[in-house]
Amino acid sequence: MRVRIVAACAVIALLAVACGNAGSAKSTVTTAPSGTAGPTTTADLTKNVPVAAPGVSDTEIHVAAITTNSNNPTGSYAPLADGVKAYFEMINSQGGIYGRKLVLTADHDDQLGSNRQTVQASLSQDNAFATFIATVFFTGADLLATKSQPVFMWNINKEFNNHNTFFANDAALCFTCAGHVGPWLAKQLGATKIGVLAYGIAEQSTACAKGIKASFAKFPTAKVVYDDESLGFAQPLGPQVTQMKQKGVQFVLTCVDLQESFTLAKEMKKQGMNAVQQLPNGYDQDFIAKNGDLLEGSIVIPQFLAFEQTPQIQEIKDLFKWSDRIGVKVKELTAVGWQIASQLYTGLKGAGPEFSQAKVVNYLNTLTDYTDNGFLQPLDWTKGHTDPITHPEARGGQECANLTKVEGGKFVPVYGEPGKPWVCFKTKDPTVDHPTHTSFAPAGS
């Protein structure tokens, strides 16, 4: 018996020692195959020519979506697919593109733990031209990247970085980068003492806290007098609030989820701490309508132009109109779905009637100022895929935000100017004293 075990071990050892490693696991940068795309005229949009691309027939262009719905501790991401459907409904009502309708044919739930398997199944079964992603984990990113399929996603996964076929509602995130908005906001609020809270069990949360501290170190409008980057999930915050109160914190910036922000608000109320909280994940109208009293005065900075900004841009009006038409309620993720579906459409337009996956990717990667008609701050896809932590030169030239404040159970736009809701800073500006107010919507929108 021992001989058999030793033999088995020997075979494994032989295999192991004889083996090398295939490729370099770190070389994850994906580039799309070559293909050219020229400008497309409006007349071209109705031209239907045979196209040999996955998911494309003479009458339809099929896409797939993978979202985390079941078992998602932060709530279902299914509304992303609703936003995509709403956008497609609008385009299809106008005759589609190149004589084809845009159709979301597969809507997968990766159930939190099966992203890779779901991506693989989608790649094998769905025959999709593009894939839309909003998932907690994105372990199947390399599979999609290998296929050079255009991927449109909600940018919350670090796997987004360094893949030129991935597009999102925001460029590659830089959690640890120093930014202008936090210090400028503290100045607007008249806050001189800052508190920072982050999870110690989530690396991105800790990195976010480092970014906040770096911001106030670079732009010292206020001083970080308390920071705790070692919170556990669903942790009571009594001691933290006590200490922040003792240290006179006036503005609390957090890198935690909505649940912990809510816990913080409750504890602050209990201990009578009067400080403004910035909610990193709080742009949820239903939530604020029900729980706004506790979060009164909190600042929320959406990833896109807030619905409440006036005058409302046409893109937001369309989002509500077509979401209503397909019977879905607009939420934060519905808007993100709409924005990334719009990017697919833009890519198809740019690729021309003889479009391909590569042409769509290549066209989008030439865009330096994409805003989805003013819904987003400008995206520069010539460098927006690159990780700005390892490549600081990839950071955009400006940093923008549009801000809202919770008042009476609603989001109220603040710090903007009429018709100019975005507050922007030059990335290289060494101070926060020169904000510019602007709008990215097309003239007359």
């Binding site: 071990c9 490693n21 209990k270």
Partner: protein, 694 residues
Amino acid sequence: MQQLISNILSGMSYGSVYALLAVGLVLAYKTSGIFNLAYGAQAFVSGAVYFDARVRHNLPIPVAFILAVLIVAPLLGILLDRVLFRYLRTASPVAKLVTVLGLLVAIPQILKLWFGQNPQYGTEGIVPNGDKAYNPFGTVFVSRDDLATIGITLIAVIALTLLFRFTALGLRMRAVVESPRMTELAGIDADRVSMASWILCSILAGLAGVLLAPLFAAVSELNYTTLVVVAMSAAVLASLTSIPVAFLGGLALGVIGEVVDAYLPTNSVLASNLRPALPFIVLFLVLILSPSLRNRRHAADPLAGVDPPPPPLAASLRSPFLTNGTRAFGTLVGLGMAYYLFFHAAENWVTIAIQAVILATIFLSITVITGMAGEISLCVATFAAIGACTTAQLATRFGIAAMLAMLIGAVIAAAVGALLALPALRLGGIFLSLATFAFALFFDNVMVKFDWVGGGSLPEPAPRPLFGSIDFDKSSRSFLVLCLIVFVIVAIAVIAVREGTTGRVLDALRGSEVAATSIGISATRARIVVFSLSAAIAAIGGGMMAMNEKAANINPNFVPAQGLVFVVLVVSLGSRTVEGAIQAAIGYAAAQIVILNQAFPWVINHVQPWYHMGQPPQTLAIILLSIGAFTYAKHPEGVLEFQKRRSLDNVQRAIDRFKGPGKIDGPMGEQSDPSLESLLSPGTPTAAPATGSP
């Protein structure tokens, strides 16, 4: 000083809920012998019902409270007792544990079909204006909710203590735990007493669920199931026997948590590591250091041990004809599947096959620890994580060949397993399981976040191997072959161990540890060997998984909750055979795609009401898998082993009928006694014939 008082008061509020849960755990264990890991899930049910009644339907607080705590909670207790728990009283500790693990997974999923998948915010406490705070000492803030929680918990615990000490019902409950059969001989209806105790336990869970809701921001499954770990620590502090100690333990843990939060320097290594791990560290230390837990391996029931040992494997009872036939059939099916996979199948089926083979390798570790040693380890996924991390780190950072890195990972896991086993194995049963679970939670909460373990913000990449001119990165089919080779080698090793000296030693220990020890068998040595072997096997599987996914994706592949699902699945299907591990792996891997992506879309299209409720019916798959665990108490050999036994019986009968009277083909050949029927009856002591089978 005032801050300390504030921290203590604040901690007492959370501590009260921990205490309630701990008291409930102890009560359930005292009265039924079941350590109810699903207790948090029960609390979640009442929390959700209270939220629905109070917030969604705007019912008055007393009505919502009565509905959630005094109606739904006891009804759930009665249901669980009638359907499950009363059949578990005399079951083995493993059967009890597997059943509650199934409940732990199933209850929240079933509830969320009604309650919704998303966390629900804005719940209220059981007193009006619960968030109104009092400030008696200047800087000490106590809310009405806090006071209500502390007060109600105190009342509940005093009432329980009185019940146990001074009432006939309490006495009967304690008697039923000591020996249900002896109690029944004394004329007491054990079933009725059992039901009373489960009603009480469920009310306590309901009370905790409702009191907890306003302490957290949202009614969310995760909050409840996480808290139970703290409650477990308190319950174990009480050696699962003393309600007052459990109560004080829960309170103390709540207070200590707050004080640690307040006084440890923020962002220090100690704070960032100790805080999230405190409950697990306490649980583990109490388990391994508590003298009262040392001698709990033996059941207290004087009539325990009179049950016969489990029957031999069905395969060992087969006639040579059937054995050969089965093997031929298995070979044909295997070849057919291989032909399809290698020449016709779409890429996703190859991916599923790879995942199934790797999972089968990991599941073999459960075959070893549970099937052979009869212990339940809840850190199988953690050892797989150790293998995955080691493989990725060594291969990527040091350029070591991936397969060699995987083997080093196996050695490291074996060493960690041995270190864990040394203090933990003397516990046995539920306590060993809890110790392994504490270790799993500690690893997941503390170790994985280190860059040199989990890889930092992105999982550490793991390359696939290169063997001469064969690049396993280029073709998934070639990687499937590699996975199959590794699996076969591991499976052969497992069978070799099972049939060798170690396997026989473990058989002897399962039969009678005292007898085995008396003839010189070292139980500790045998168990450490098996624990290490199990850890190494899981690590090999973890390493292969990392290579397959080209990264050590600990989250979500190898988190502790995933480990629970692994155990439930393998044990309920059959943990004693390699075949059981294979079937569990195929079921797990294929269920994701076949059931969820193909069968359920059909359901979605045909069962529109569910779809319009917005509840993803995909959760039904998880429910079905976990409900499988409920069959374990009835079929401890595993559902598949049971079915195999029945099928064999039927086939053997058909063969016997075909051959006619007097021509019986039994295990010993044509001359053997045709008493298969008696051999197939569970519970009949039978010597296993020499012909084993994987």
